[in-house]
Structure formats: C-alpha cells, structure tokens
Amino acid sequence: MRYLLIAATLLLALAACETESLPPLVAADVIVTEPVPGHRMSAAYLSLSNNSRNAIRINRVSSPNFGAVELHESSVEDGVAKMRPVEELVIAPNSKVALQPGGLHLMLMRPNADIDEVSLNFYQDTTLLLSVDTKITRRSN
C-alpha cells in the first residue's frame, strides 16, 4: 500500500511537470525596437505558439512601459503600404503565428522615459494569457 502511494505521488508529480513544461501559449524571438529619437512609438515583433488543443484569442495587449499598445497589421497592396488595427489575433490549436516587420506587429505608443526593459502582457478580455519580458533592441547604424 505504501509503495502504491509513493508510485501515485510520483505519477502526479510527473503529470504536473509535463503541464508545466509545455504552457499553452509560448513566445519566442521577441524584439522590441527602440523608439526613434524624437518619436514616441516603436514596434514589437515575436512569434506566438499555441500548444493547446483549443484556439487562443488575444484581443488586448498592455505594457507597464508604454501608454498604449495596439495590435496592427502592415501590408503592401498594389504597391501601396498600409497599416491597419487588428481586433483579435486567433492562434489555431498547435500552431504558430509570427509577428514580423512588414506584417503583424504590436505598435507601442507613448513610452515611459528611458525604457530599457519592456514587459508585454497578452490578454483575452480580462484573462492574462502570457507575460513576456525583454530588453529593447537598439538599432546600430
């Protein structure tokens, strides 16, 4: 009986490990560009992987380091560059969405003074899905 209990505890612990090692929403390749001097905005790029069996919906992103964060999409249609707000980002089960230059991106507005580290919080309505911390990427010219 004692052995059975130990075995059960171990199994439970293993199961806990498994769910912990694979959270439903994972960010990678996070880049936050530095605001151009004299400008109060920058952009964030990253990839978001949904490891769960359900679609993940992101409809709000916030950052303690910026006054506002918006989800945008840039595109070039018939030779014309455009940028439009995106209401909701839906990531299908077991798939990945890339936010990258010239496409989906986070537009970060009104930065706090002298930002270096940035936190980004991804929500579905009021539920926090993911927090990401990164350093600002300086452009080298």
């Binding site: 560009t33 004299g38 070039v76």
Partner: protein
C-alpha cells in the same frame, strides 16, 4: 568503329559549343533581377519643398549624385523604419565595397503636417549621416508625387492618431536628376546590391 569516332567527335563538338556559349554569355551585360528599369529616363516635375535643415529642395537638388528616394512618414513604426534600415544597409555595403556610385537616401515625407524639418532631421540622421529628409507644403508635395505616380492618403487609425497609406516603391534618380528605375516592395538588401551597379553602369 566509325560510330565510336563519330560519337567522340560529337561529344568534343558539343563541349566546344557549350564553352563558346558560356564565354559569350559572360561577356553580355548582366540583367537586373528586382528593379524595374524605365525604358526612357523621366524628367522630374517642378516642385518646391524644403530639406531637414529648412533649405530649399527642388528638382535641382537631385543633380550631382545618385539618389534612392522613399516616400514615407516618421510616425510609421513598421514599414518606414524597416525600409530605411534596408537602404542604410545597402549604402553601408556599397561604401565598404568601394563602389563609386553610392546613392544618398532621400525620405520624402507624405505627412508634412507632423513632419517638420526638426523632426525629419533627427529621424533621417538616426539611419545614417548624409541622409536627406524632405517636407513642405502639401500642394507642392502633390506636385512631386503625382508627377512620379506616387500615391499617398491619410487614414484614421485611432482618434488621436492617424496613418498615411503610401506607395512602397523606392525610386532611383540618376546624377542628371532623372528618374531611371524603381524598386518595388518587398525591399531586400541583396536585390539592391545586385541591381544598383547594373543600373549605375548604364549612366
């Protein structure tokens, strides 16, 4: 026996022909792979704008050097900085390779309302010394853009903010101030490094 000799002769003959073909091919001028070279160099329309120092900037300002001209605005967080970064990398690579026709980068603002010379100055300098920023009266700007087939239109993105849809092309202006070629988006450093020497060699 006759057949074998015939086959050897055939083989040698085709090798010779292939060699000749390759030799001739390397002698012909290379072709651009991304840029569109205009059949005839286009004159720039008359316009009167100002640069980032507040100095007059008109069609004559394009004379004397090669220019890469991009139309954009500084409150654009994604496409404009990405394009300027690409052009800056192109310039850096050309300077390093000792190219004699390194072009200037000219950003013509399609948002003169917000892009004052001071704002433009800090912006273009951020992407490298020697870059030019152009702004001015909307009517004069329209004079330049409509003459070049460049489109731009203001769009609301949120109440306190707005964006500007704009042509994504980069124009190549020769040292006579003539519009000779253009690069369409997406802009890739390798395409510029391949095509620009071919375009400038034709001058």
């Amino acid at each position: 026996m006759h057949l074998k000799q015939f086959l050897i002769a055939l083989l040698l003959g085709s090798a010779l022909a292939a060699g000749l073909f390759l030799a001739m091919k390397s002698g012909t001028p290379a072709e651009v792979r991304s840029a569109t070279v205009l059949p005839g160099a286009g004159e720039l329309p008359d316009f009167s704008l100002i640069d980032q120092h507040g100095e007059d900037f008109n069609a004559n300002a394009f004379r004397g050097q090669w220019d890469l001209v991009f139309f954009g605005f500084t409150h654009c967080p994604d496409i404009c900085p990405t394009t300027l970064q690409t052009l800056a990398e192109v310039r850096r690579a050309l300077v390093e390779s000792g190219d004699e026709n390194v072009p200037r980068i000219v950003l013509v603002s399609v948002d003169p309302e917000r892009d004052t010379p001071e704002i433009l100055s800090r912006y273009v300098n951020y992407f490298g010394a020697g870059n030019i920023g152009v702004t001015g009266e909307l009517e004069q700007l329209r004079q330049l853009t409509s003459g070049l087939g460049i489109y731009f239109e203001k769009v609301n993105i949120e109440d306190a903010n707005y964006g500007v849809d704009h042509s994504a092309a980069v124009l190549v202006i020769d040292p006579d101030g003539k519009f000779v070629a253009l690069f369409s988006a997406p802009h890739r450093v390798d395409d510029y490094l391949h095509d620009l020497p071919i375009i400038t060699a034709k001058y």
